[in-house]
Point group: C2
Chain length 167, copies 2
Amino acid sequence: MDLYFIRHGLAGQHGDYANDRERPLTDEGKRKTRQVAQQLHGLGLRFDLILTSPLARAKQTAEILRAEGLGKQLEEAEYLAPGGDLQPWLNWLGTWRSPDKVLALVGHEPDLSTWAELLVWGNAHGNLVLKKAGAIAVTIPDSGSPIATSRLFWLTSPRFLLGHEKK
Amino acid sequence: MDLYFIRHGLAGQHGDYANDRERPLTDEGKRKTRQVAQQLHGLGLRFDLILTSPLARAKQTAEILRAEGLGKQLEEAEYLAPGGDLQPWLNWLGTWRSPDKVLALVGHEPDLSTWAELLVWGNAHGNLVLKKAGAIAVTIPDSGSPIATSRLFWLTSPRFLLGHEKK
């Protein structure tokens, strides 16, 4: 089973919003996230489920993925909010997991790259670089704990999907 | 300083060649490696030096990178042959290293992904997937040991560069 960890796109400044959960993508963030989503679609990626953090910038990112045809099903999960725990997600995964399914998790840093490191190496050094609107993809085994048993097969920033932007 | 580990392209069958060091890229391997090189060029990548394993399939891959404009300098290094040691390369790196330089290392699996894991995590689990003509990119610190102090910022297979091939 393949998991794609996708970080939300560029969002408004901290401090401009009373509630950080409501901080939205900027126009530039929406545009670039849409371009990334179109590239992912062109690469043939399709998700059986897009699971997203309930924060505005993540939900908007997930909605863009859905709008560009990457998946029809979209659900919010509180454990994908910043500082969320891996364990509740692992519990949920136990009920959803099935070979050949493809899952997208839309959320925040440093949580997403930490989770990816835990799945692949069993501990986190903070040495995976996940840019806004970037992605990390891992294959988890069909059964048993995915911790330290998963394999990293893709990690990209928007730059490596879109190239340097034209001036 | 950025390092790009690049695995050689698709090569002829083991056993068809008396000397494994002479086993060349197939026509398909050359074609796909050229397409990958063109994509890397289009993404704006340029290497100050392309260091390659002396085996035919790696040298041919490195020559394709050079021919597509990714770098002018190409050198062979015996420690990039299969089963090569990290330490001689680290010794060489000490003499060549300089901020903002970009180095390509063309070689073999499982050595390249093992080296990348050592640079990023300090130990190797064999959980990075590096396909033929795929790439892993890490940033090493400007000074001090790069072991367990480097950061992984890109990992890709040809599939994520070229998309699914048209039938």
